[in-house]
């Protein structure tokens, strides 16, 4: 029943992951990483893991991204790769 959504979102997730590690700007990485977490959350929800989805939503989309941005704020956006 849910497999089409699962399939599509999973593919998006892979895109996001690749993009997140290949962007040449750490803030961009942070933002894409947030997107990656959104997708993941969706994926968990699709698979019926509501608690995991909730946690991923709160952690991945929320605090993780904020920590990331905070760290980038205190360090540097520069990255060579």
């Amino acid at each position: 029943m849910h497999w089409p959504i699962d399939l599509i979102v999973l593919t998006f997730v892979i895109f996001c992951a690749i993009a997140a590690i290949s962007v040449k700007d750490l803030l961009g990485t942070a933002i894409l990483f947030g997107a990656y977490s959104f997708m993941m959350c969706l994926l968990w929800a699709v698979m019926g893991a509501v608690d995991v989805a909730f946690t991923e939503a709160s952690v991945g989309a929320g605090v993780s991204t904020v920590f990331f941005v905070a760290a980038v704020f205190r360090t540097s956006r520069r990255t060579k790769d």
């Binding site: 029943m1 497999w3 699962d6 399939l7 999973l10 593919t11 997730v13 892979i14 992951a17 690749i18 997140a20 590690i21 750490l26 990485t29 990483f33 990656y36 993941m40 994926l43 968990w44 698979m47 019926g48 893991a49 509501v50 608690d51 995991v52 946690t55 991923e56 952690v59 991945g60 605090v63 993780s64 920590f67 990331f68 905070a70 760290a71 980038v72 205190r74 360090t75 540097s76 520069r78 990255t79 060579k80 790769d81």
Partner: protein, 135 residues
Amino acid sequence: MTDLLPLIVAKYNYWLYVILMMIGLYAMIAKNNLIKKLVGMNIFQTAIILFYVSIGYKKDATIPIIQSAHGGGHGAHEAAIHAADYINPLPHVLMLTAIVVSVATFGVAMALAVRVYQRYQTLEEDELRMRLSEK
């Protein structure tokens, strides 16, 4: 073609988890920037979570919260509960813990990255190595 689709659906999650994990691992090993590595680390951990959650999924089953007729409070268990109706909760439990662990690690790692930057003014590994060998 008709045989292929069920096969893909049956294993798609497992294959993609491997790919995701490879992406994460590659980033952790090959990337030059420490924060990039951290992102790789997180992707790696998420891949594992994906794996576990995929284990737990059951076709035609609902989320692992027992459905009571009127949703009413404690102890309302009228009908017998069939295991096949609910998704396996155990992997979810494990992954909750794993997510928490990963966010804790992530926080500490970020703090470390800030410290490293304070000290060396860079996060690139090759530059760090250069700084270290200077002394």
